[in-house]
Amino acid sequence: MGSYTNNFKFYKPNPSEAVDVNSQLNKNLDIVDFHAKGLMDYELFNTQVSRIPTDVLSARKPGHKFYKPYSNSIYAEDTNPLLAPIQDASAFVSPWVDVNNANYIKTTSGAWAPYPSQPPAYRVITNQFTTATEIEWTGRLWLGGATLVIQFNYTPVMIIPPEAIPTVAKYFNVPAGNTTTGYSEVRVLINPSGNVDFFKLGQAVPSTSTENYVDLGAVRYNKDVGP
């Protein structure tokens, strides 16, 4: 009886034994060929069409194959055979943080609520090697389908978590819907207190407008830069 190598389980025949060339020698070459190809390719692929082989000798271990999407997170192929996400130690994008609840969105200055299916959220762009932190927002708010009133200061619309609060106030102009005759925008003010205020500029947007919301997609700032 021969022996197997540790990782790939190549069969190493004993000098005294009879060896089957195809099942014990050439099969080893197929195994290393199979593994090495996947490991030296660098790709994203459809997990539904590339399955883990069931053959015991050529089956992969968890984590055999790694993928890196643009987020810099690493994904390792698992035996189940889903892709198991592994967060890169130097990844620079956090998961989206949902602020879609009453702890953050305030109704004291208007019935502001998350826009259906597009709730507001932010993510932290940083890594372990730096303290410079950017905050990127997404999602939308609306007044529950009511008309966005012109020239109205909403203070505050949101009170955001400390990790998203900038050192100095940040201002952004964002789209706020259209009418048949004009277009409106909202000035978003993110205060160092954590309050997020809206100031409506332009025309009143009727409740029937298909863009009757405030989109936060353009709000991205460095929270650490000083005055």
Partner: protein
């Protein structure tokens, strides 16, 4: 399913020469085992690597990049640490900084992205902006001029007396001789403060 040019062993026949199991076969498996095992572990190195090829590095779950030589790897370029420090923008005499909002810029050498922060006023009393382009600076380095030599972006501004008129600053970034220039035009009616912010202004260079 072949990827490497392995020469497979032919099934034996009576005329085959003798094969030494240890030196001809088993040593080969050991060599393959040694060289390729690193590729299936978290600490990988690439054999016969090409420059720029990536592998999982010895630092936990991070990528290394090959410089082209076997086993010689460097850390991948880190995007966040590639940001420069925030640097004060040398302002043109036509504007002044808004108090507590120093106009600054920073650049990212990996992303090749420039980004602004802070705010400006026309003058210290915050007079109304003219209906014309006003130069914020024409002294930024030429190396960060926008792709295509022009970027045109909107930013927030002070609330005008008549909010229905809207208020925003429209920034035009282009070249001016040996430098990169930022100009701004106020859009909307005059009002309290008359500042124009630079938050959110960024461009690829």
């Amino acid at each position: 399913m072949t990827y490497f040019n392995f020469t497979k062993v032919a099934p034996p026949s009576p005329s085959d020469p003798l094969v030494n199991v240890t030196t001809h076969l088993n040593n080969n498996w050991d060599e393959i085992e040694t060289k390729f095992s690193s590729l299936i572990t978290m600490s990988g190195n690439i054999i016969n690597a090409e420059a720029g090829q990536e592998a999982v590095g010895s630092v936990a779950q991070s990528f290394y990049v090959s410089n082209g030589a076997p086993f010689v790897m460097r850390s991948a370029d880190d995007i966040q640490t590639s940001w420069s420090a925030w640097t004060a923008i040398p302002l043109n005499a036509a504007v002044v900084a808004r108090a507590s909002f120093t106009p600054r810029y920073r650049t990212n050498s990996v992303l090749r992205l420039a980004e602004l922060s802070g705010g400006v006023q026309k003058d210290a009393p915050a007079s109304a902006w003219p209906a014309a382009l006003v130069v914020i600076t024409n002294l930024l380095p030429l190396s960060i001029v926008p792709i295509g030599n022009l970027s045109f972006q909107q930013s927030a501004a002070a609330i005008p007396t008549t909010p229905a008129n809207g208020s925003a600053g429209y920034h035009l970034i282009d070249t001016n001789g040996p430098n990169t220039r930022i100009q701004v035009r106020y859009a909307g009616g005059p009002g309290g403060g008359n500042f124009i912010m630079l938050d959110g202004i960024k461009w690829w260079y």
